[in-house]
Symmetry: C2
Subunit: 403 residues, 2 copies
């Protein structure tokens, strides 16, 4: 224990990203914020950025800003996320809507592109909105959902996929990092296995974007979606992004055909004709205000590099796993995440029957992890805003609350 | 002309809402902003509101704010818009998504509720996104679009609807105020005519919410959508609202079934079960940041009352119509809006072959109307942020640019 404290201090002292900790708004009364994987913290620079936006871009340029900058913002910001975080060349990523709405649009587009096929493969432990959307689309399209049930800690393996996919499979929908266990799926081998049967692959990147270098182009991924309010710190309900590999742009068609995805937005034409490229996946007016906060975080990631973020993320979760072993396992707490940092995303999940009660106590004391029904606590460690000492103190607070 | 200037000054001097003009961010270099019906101006108080939100609600309360206030924000804000602007009792209005996405959800829900019917009635001059969404839904559902072609200046009349609807009609989709002419439709008689054949009525309120008292409940309207970045000053791309009359809550089902519209959001259940009431029309995580700006404008509308806003709106457009008659008609400019203020919304549209070129010149000079292809200028007059003198100066600037 003394060793862990000393080690945490030492890791902080040697942390090449430590200077970024000061970039975030301080939270009075919060000693450990361990939920950056649900809602990332705002940057100190944000109020000034928002005020300048209100006074200049919106308040003074007024409607002219649409021509001057806002029309291109969904694709410009998409390109930036793609370049910094997703391994995606320009022209394939767009910011729009919510994750849920983008899942709907891309799943609908995908199954329509495989009209002779009858199944969507999805994990029974995938995030609810992914499952609910797939369930709705299957019901309305007469498709079957083929459920897979991977090990809840290790997460989905390529063997799970190989056993499920076939010439009947239209689409496979998986999370890159499991929202419960934090298990990291092998994107390349799974995508290859899906392609081997001629199906399309849609990755949900909500829990990996901004904390793990993703290689969408290199893995040959077809489709991806992700949110921007976790490790991209875009603020509550900030818009999501969609990635559609360029090879599909002329072939996939999404169902919510709105004016902002039309070829000529202001022609007010009589019939919908989709824009070329990724723009056709936009539907309504882009949520400009919601796209501002994440820009400061993307600046930080650019300075830090996503590789260095991942390195610190692994070191943070390693420290937490060791602290769980030493301090919480004796109290009956189970580790519900993979032990190998290479197989894990940015959070660590632990289980104990008393955790619903413990979480209430922790929140009241300014230690903020995430409770997951029925008995899990997720310790989310956003590398740029979380120190090693803070991460460790969270584990020790769980111990104290349990004792 | 001298009379008009004197009259504008006199109207401003007697304007009971004049004090509110100071509530908006001043736009340096802009002498007349006549596009508040595309993008309303921000309030001066907004930077402070946003900074407080970033530092407290988001930065300090962090994830706890979801429990404390954000989960209820879509319905609380919806209720407030409903009460102040829509004549809608609580529990029927929700803020979410874009207008386009909400149109999709409500149109899909409506046609599914009339499975034996084969037609959607829609105006060929309706706003493109309304038409495009209807076109997509018709194509995927095997429905027919029955187009109506009302007079482009007078807008849709009940006779147009009576001639088009029948026992085949599932849904009628119309704009309350025409985005081109500003013509105001007779909501009550048209809704009654639609109900007479057993069809559902969906009103697009984008150009009426915040400037005209709408009476959704009293008119027995089934469904409505509208945007919040025009006369509600929510900022570029701020989220839209949907109204679903309570009598339909158990019966209509929208297709984008996401976790935030589920009965128990955090149960992470295995099958989607919609929430009760209006909440089921939410799909993804609510765009909280995008819901902040409009709150200041709703405060202003509450102080002013929507009735007084409408009174000033009619007086503003009356003044502009008279100025167009006196100053622009001699130059060949046509009035493309109804002459009777009671039949008109908050903007006045005029036409001239040189208006594309004129608009460029006006914008460069800090006079900002909206150009509409091929040769229209819309003079949008947002009553709380526009003085009579400003409105008149816009018309005179058009005259000078034409001369």
């Amino acid at each position: 224990m003394t060793d862990l404290l000393a080690e945490a201090r030492d890791l902080d002292a040697r942390d090449p990203l430590a200077a970024h900790l000061e970039a975030f708004v301080p939270a009075a009364g919060v000693s450990a914020y361990l939920d950056g994987n649900s809602l990332g913290r705002p940057l100190r620079e944000l109020p000034d950025r928002l005020a300048a936006f209100v006074r200049e871009d919106w308040g003074t340029r007024l409607i002219r800003s649409w021509d001057e900058q806002w029309m291109d913002l969904p694709t410009a910001l998409g390109d930036r996320i793609g370049m910094l975080c997703l391994g995606a060349a320009a022209g394939q990523t767009v910011v729009a809507d919510s994750t849920t709405v983008l899942l709907y649009k891309l799943m609908r587009a995908a199954v329509a592109a495989r009209p002779e096929r009858t199944e969507i493969v999805i994990e029974d432990g995938n995030f609810p909105t992914d499952r609910f959307i797939a369930e709705g689309i299957a019901a309305e399209s007469g498709l079957t959902l083929r459920w897979i049930s991977p090990d809840p800690v290790a997460g989905v393996q390529v063997a799970d996929i190989e056993a499920a996919v076939s010439a009947r499979t239209a689409l496979v929908v998986l999370s890159h990092v499991d929202y419960r266990s934090g298990a990291l799926a092998d994107m390349k081998t799974i995508t290859d296995a899906v392609h081997d049967v001629g199906a399309l692959m849609l990755w949900d990147l909500c829990h990996s974007v901004g904390v793990i270098p993703v290689e969408l182009d290199a893995c040959g991924v077809d489709l991806a979606v992700g949110c921007t309010y976790k490790y991209l710190n875009g603020g509550p309900g900030s818009p999501a992004f969609a990635y559609v590999n360029a090879r599909h742009h002329g072939l996939l068609r999404q169902p919510i055909q709105g004016w902002m995805g039309a070829g000529d937005v202001f022609a007010m034409g009589s019939t919908y004709a989709p824009a070329g490229g990724i723009r056709q996946f936009i539907s309504g007016t882009p949520p400009v205000l919601g796209m501002l906060a994440m820009q400061g975080m993307l600046d930080l990631i650019e300075q830090a590099t996503i590789g260095a973020v991942r390195e610190k993320s692994q070191a943070l979760t390693d420290l937490v796993v060791r602290a769980v072993d030493e301090e919480l396992a004796p109290l009956g707490v189970r580790l519900l995440s993979p032990r190998d940092a290479a197989l894990r995303g940015g959070h660590v999940t632990i289980g104990h029957p008393d955790f619903a009660e413990v979480t209430k106590r922790l929140w009241a004391d300014g230690v903020i992890p995430d409770f997951r029904f029925p008995d899990g606590i997720r310790l989310g460690l956003s590398p740029l805003s979380t120190s090693y000492a803070e991460a460790l103190s969270g584990v020790l607070a769980v111990r104290d609350a349990l004792s």
